[in-house]
Symmetry: D2
Subunit: 229 residues, 4 copies
């Protein structure tokens, strides 16, 4: 059995104004600080236009929110893996429920990311689709039931059996992939519950980004991670 | 009758490797130099991830290649007008033939761009659609017949009646909008012909970006503009 | 000035179960009966799979709800103009707000429909987009503000200035096109108001299809049309 | 181990003019005749508008080429499972490479088909995606490498290892699903090779539909099936 990957908390900045432009850099710095102080691995996923500035200012993992399944060429307005990497990102989300891809694009996007050295987090909304995503051999699968995204009702508490079932189905087809849990996570309790159910970390957006004190929420999350260690 | 806008040459970097990352900045600097030396207004449209670095290094107009018709919020992997603007872009392409939008998205994207102060260039492939685009009241309409894009066969020479017809139809519904011409432009002659047919400038990609010496091609274009002045 | 086209009431069956399969045929027969009794021109737009059966059973105009901008060939799962026509439809909706097309597809779909002799109704959600649609030279433009669709709050009463503005903008670019009004229409009063504002008829769905007695609602609509004649 | 399903040959009519309207019915009748004469199970997948007429004229399985992942409601221009079923189809293709779905739509479309009693054939272009499709628990997975579709170069001869690998990966996650093979199949030899490699049948389009004598090609296919029995 492979050794357990260390817990990972990934903060998705979405297109929130609270995390756009200078505020993206400021928020990333706050996230980095909490990660450093607690020893927990924290990453951020800012908007495309903010990747370069964020990556220039923090040493934590920086993810794109999406890449297109394209090679260099005539693809005006698309997102090229090489471009994301050149800007300083070390990974990318793929197939987030707000940016779902057609099935063959997922496989190609994972391959394109790998070719340029980007870590991949493929999102899926159900246990079955989590396993399907795992078959594309990304580094990580994130389980995010779309109905709970942005609700503050955590999947790990509202619907623990989705996570249990996801972990089982994913492990059945891919023993190495890392598993994140998302949707509705807003407290350390939610994080603790998710890790206890067999996931390796959290994908979170509004629960941190839209909080009055994002660094306080992240600290709560990180302390929950440490309780488990 | 409104005074003629000064000619504008906009270089679309697409997702060409020759114009990604550091090479985007280098190419933008070369374009700026030719523009400065000839006194012709030149703009560049790099990939999203390169906007910030390009805008930090040049004083010419920097355009995004696309924005989504969204307001700030939960739109992972999308392109927010505010984000593009914060990165230093002053304008954006909309509805490029490689990134066509659904009809209502065009109107909303133009409105979103205007709200944050971005100049808009809406692309269209036919005379009729050029007029439809002009009804959305962008700053500029770019006529680019998709069949000629990337061919080196210039619309202004291969198909001058498309441009004449486009100018007529566009002016019929919108007397103020600037009109660019694209697709297949690769020589100063092509540029000269396009301006003579009543357009106000050029949208070009491979003709410059993929040329062995992009600055030489742009110089040829700029000299053609000056011949007309 | 062209003579006023006679008023037209088009009933969109959407994918309502009340108008699927045998119920599509039954509903179309009821609609035909009311049209015949009142002398008002009534058309129906059933689902693709129901077109043949509906067209075989009624003599009123039968519309498809959408066609794809394709020519015959390898387009599995798409809707070919020739196929819709062969099944007995005489017209088609294009770009309904629930099936928006990319801008160049609208122009091509209108051309494809014309090539096979189908009457075209291009939908648009705003006055400006109504004019853009009219530039593609369909037979008819239908103005349907998406916010009001299915609400029972009629555009002709809630937002009469959208209709006035639409009629003005559309007529400015196309003097011949027929103009329908949709969204929220549920009473004869709504129909009367729409025609008084300069439109030539109505595109309606839930207001008729989901009514306890669709034929009674349509009769109310038709009587409103006759009041104006 | 489950008993081997009997071989199945499914003819996709795409949007070929040779298989539109009356010609769809005629072609389906020819296909039925060959199936009856040889005792091989043959199905046809006509366009949406032709399903009712085809199903009324043949007793063989009739498939839709696509359904949307929707429930009854306001989905103008979409394809409802109930509608396809009411027209007489007994199954449907899902996610054909010419009509790829976003990942969550595949799972939902399979569920919708099952709810109304339609047999499902989910298409995939690679071995890995074939397994991902199998996780959605359709009745059948069809492996069709997009590069070979319509070429007359059969996947079973050009690229047998894709089929071997697909069968292995699919069986690894789903022991019950039927496996079809498609792309480039045009002779009985191709069919024979495909079945020998462990698939349970064929999905074919141009190889039959565009042939001068479709019934002769299908007879060749059916004889190849019988050689194996």
């Amino acid at each position: 059995m492979p050794s357990q990957p260390e817990p990972f908390l990934l903060i998705n900045f979405k297109t929130y104004l609270e995390a756009t432009g200078k505020k993206a850099v400021e928020l990333a710095l706050k996230m980095e600080k909490v990660g450093n102080e607690t020893g927990v691995t924290v990453g951020v996923a800012p908007q495309f236009c903010d990747i370069a500035q964020v990556a220039a200012n923090v040493k934590i993992p920086v993810f794109a929110q999406h890449i297109d399944a394209i090679t260099p060429g005539a693809f005006t307005g698309h997102v090229l893996a090489e471009s994301v990497s050149a800007a300083g990102a070390t990974g990318t989300l793929i197939n987030h429920s707000e940016r779902n891809l057609r099935l063959p694009e997922i496989e190609r996007a994972v391959q394109r990311a790998r070719e340029v050295g980007l870590t991949t987090v493929v999102c899926a909304g159900t246990a079955r689709l989590g396993a399907a995503a795992a078959l594309c051999e990304p580094d990580t699968v994130a389980i995010e039931p779309p109905d709970l995204i942005g609700t503050g009702r955590a999947v790990s508490k509202e619907n623990p059996e989705i996570l249990t079932d996801s972990v089982k189905r994913i492990r059945n087809v891919n023993s190495r992939v890392t598993i994140l849990c998302g949707a509705g996570i807003s407290t350390g309790e939610d994080v603790y519950a998710a890790l206890k159910l067999g996931t390796n970390g959290i994908l979170v957006a509004s629960g941190v980004v839209k909080a009055p004190k994002p660094e306080a929420v992240l600290l709560d999350f990180c302390n929950a991670v440490r309780r488990l260690a």
